[in-house]
């Protein structure tokens, strides 16, 4: 059993290591870049999963923490202020500042639940974006809508992830290197999520999600535990943001719109709220499928209809909406739900089943 598991792990590890080269060979360079972004999104989704999936706090402004991490990196590692602090300082600092913002958002919203919390967090996300947009006057800090460019690449010591290396006759490009860096961080985030989930803290989160009043009556300090969820989620967002800034070399406020928050939330919900594997799956699918579609929609129309009738971009959103509806209809707990959540929806299934049987009986 143990051997079986560890050999499974080994296969998975090898597959993950070989993946960028396989993708490169099969689909081309661009797709390795997409894989990099997928990893960044997975980190984000895992962070949000703590807040939404475990603690049950609907946060619609989550992208703000991504923005905070990204701008921290951008401001401290670019010609903007002529600062070029090293990655191992800026990245943790970004995570820390994002964590601070998480607490800042969490503290005043603790008493709110459900829809109200969603609206306040949505506002918070927009405030951060608008701030970034307008902090170019009277003192120019963020460069406003133009954003910050020429951001330092991610580098440790003399080793830059932003360049290509020749190694034993094999060319390893920046996208490959970033893949490995992001993979390492993603694995770390997965590890942290899993460990927390299955602990005293994780149980307290779920208890609050299930029944906050009962949780507090059982002696859980709901304020602190909820703040902890916000802080942890925000920290992951901040790390992801810092990596994003170093990877892109450019950040601007428009990368942090409400649509992005919703996208990350969709990854969590679609993949399977509260289940790390599901959230990872959701992240992969929601990054890869739209890209596939973007590439395919034009040529397919050309082939079938002889010309491009509908703009692939708008068709993409349409398909995205359709996919969401289908998943919610057929797999309401997500594609790969946590066992808990699945059972949660199972009960509803049985009711549905009974209803269907009644209808069936009646029509006989």
């Amino acid at each position: 059993m143990k051997l079986h598991r560890s050999s499974g792990h080994l296969t998975l590890a090898l597959a993950l290591l070989a993946l960028p080269f396989i993708i490169d060979a099969l689909f081309g360079h661009g797709w390795v870049r997409i894989a990099d972004f997928a990893l960044l999104y997975i980190m984000l989704a895992l962070g949000l999963n703590i807040v939404v999936g475990y603690a049950g706090l609907l946060d619609l402004g989550y992208i703000a923490f991504f923005a905070v991490g990204a701008y921290t990196y951008a401001l401290l590692g670019s010609p903007q202020f002529g600062l070029h602090w090293p990655m191992y300082v800026v990245l943790p600092l970004g995570a820390l500042i994002a964590c601070g913002f998480g607490v800042l958002l969490g503290a005043p919203t603790l008493k709110l639940r459900g829809d109200y919390l969603a609206i306040v967090t949505l506002g918070f996300g927009e405030i951060i974006r608008i701030f970034l947009n307008n902090l170019n006057a009277p003192v120019n800090i963020t460069n406003g809508p133009q954003g910050i460019s020429a951001i330092d690449p991610l580098q440790i010591g003399g080793f830059s992830f932003g360049s290509s290396y020749e190694w034993m006759g094999m060319r390893v490009d920046d996208v490959h290197l970033h893949y490995y860096l992001f993979l390492a961080f993603t694995l770390l985030v997965i590890f942290v999520s899993r460990r927390l989930e299955d602990s005293r803290i994780g149980r307290a989160w779920v208890a609050i999600r299930e029944d906050e009043v009962a949780a507090s009556a059982m002696g859980i300090n709901t304020r602190n535990i909820k703040l902890l969820a916000f802080a942890m989620g925000a920290t992951f967002g901040g790390i992801s943001g810092g990596l994003f800034a170093g990877f892109q070399g450019f950040v601007s406020p428009e990368s942090f719109s409400l649509m992005e928050s919703i996208m990350v939330l969709c990854m969590v919900v679609l993949g399977g709220m509260g289940n790390v594997g599901g959230v990872v799956l959701g992240g992969v699918l929601l990054v890869a499928l739209p890209e596939l579609f973007r590439n395919a929609a034009g040529p397919v129309q050309q082939m079938l209809l002889g010309k491009v009738v509908v703009d692939p971009e708008s068709l993409r959103m349409l398909m995205f909406g359709l996919a969401l509806i289908l998943v919610m209809l057929w797999r309401p707990a997500g594609l790969w739900p946590s066992t808990q959540r699945r059972r949660e929806f199972d009960a509803d299934d049985s009711v549905l089943h009974q209803e269907q049987e009644t209808v069936y009986d009646a029509s006989k």
Partner: protein, 259 residues
């Protein structure tokens, strides 16, 4: 032993109203350590409100209460749980989508301390604590007589089992005072007998019990002292037999029944 040593919970002129409704008016009572104390009264008399006040879910409007020598007027629920008051709910509030075992493990939250660091590193202390938590949760399941699979979700338990699971979860917090809001509601006769035995066992283990119950037979057979609430006022207090004969109580119940 002085009077305050003997008294675990003492309410002094506690008042609580909701808009025009007076749910509790000037209620004073004291509960001795080691007793099973019954709280009865017609529907809407304010019994649950009194529970909510002493467990911190409602803030009282006037008066104060003393628990284990400490005086409270306003206090957070988790701090009262910390102080040693645990409760069950009239309309069962389990963590429905957690397993029976996990429900009790949440009850251990208060008496355990593994934080982020312990959870991440799973160091020796964290592992030992987790093992002890699981162990204690198993014991408590057995203690209250739940024999089903431990991984069964709380919501899939039978009604009587859910009531008992709530008691187990409350016991997991290591209370000095266990407050039970109509634990026998919805139980059949056999289950009620088992409940009675369980409550006696809990009392024998040194935990004081405060019990709201409509089942008069259960109250009479179990309680050392009984208080009767009606329209938020305490209309009688004393040994079960005395209270049963009290004309005011009879009037309240008959009046309540007739209305």
């Amino acid at each position: 032993m002085t009077a305050s040593d003997k008294t675990l919970l003492e309410l002094t002129n506690v008042g609580k109203h909701f808009g025009g409704v007076t749910a509790l008016a000037d209620v004073s009572l004291h509960i001795h350590r080691g007793d099973i104390y019954g709280l009865i009264g017609p529907n809407g008399a304010g019994k649950t409100t009194l529970f909510n006040v002493v467990t911190g879910l409602y803030q009282l409007d006037s008066g104060s209460f003393q628990f284990a020598g400490q005086s409270y007027t306003r206090c957070k629920p988790h701090l009262l749980a910390q102080a040693g008051i645990a409760r069950t709910f009239q309309n069962i509030r389990l963590f429905a989508n957690m397993s029976a075992l996990e429900n009790i493990m949440v009850g251990r939250h208060l008496r355990t301390r593994t934080g982020i660091w312990g959870a991440l590193t799973r160091n020796a202390a964290a592992r030992a604590e987790e093992r002890a938590t699981v162990q204690r949760a198993r014991e408590l399941l057995e203690y209250v007589g739940i024999t089903c699979a431990h991984q069964t979700l709380a919501k899939h338990l039978s009604y009587g089992e859910q009531r008992r699971l709530e008691i187990a979860r409350a016991l997991a917090t290591e209370p000095k005072l266990l407050t039970l809001d109509e634990p026998a509601a919805g139980m059949n006769a056999t289950e009620t007998v088992a409940l009675k035995a369980l409550l006696q066992k809990i009392r024998a283990s040194g935990i004081t019990v405060l019990l709201i119950e409509h089942d008069v037979k259960l109250i009479m057979g179990l309680c050392d002292r009984v208080a009767v609430l009606d329209y938020g006022k305490k209309i009688a207090e004393g040994a079960p037999e005395e209270v049963r004969r009290d004309p005011a109580v009879i009037a309240a119940y008959l009046g309540g029944e007739a209305a």
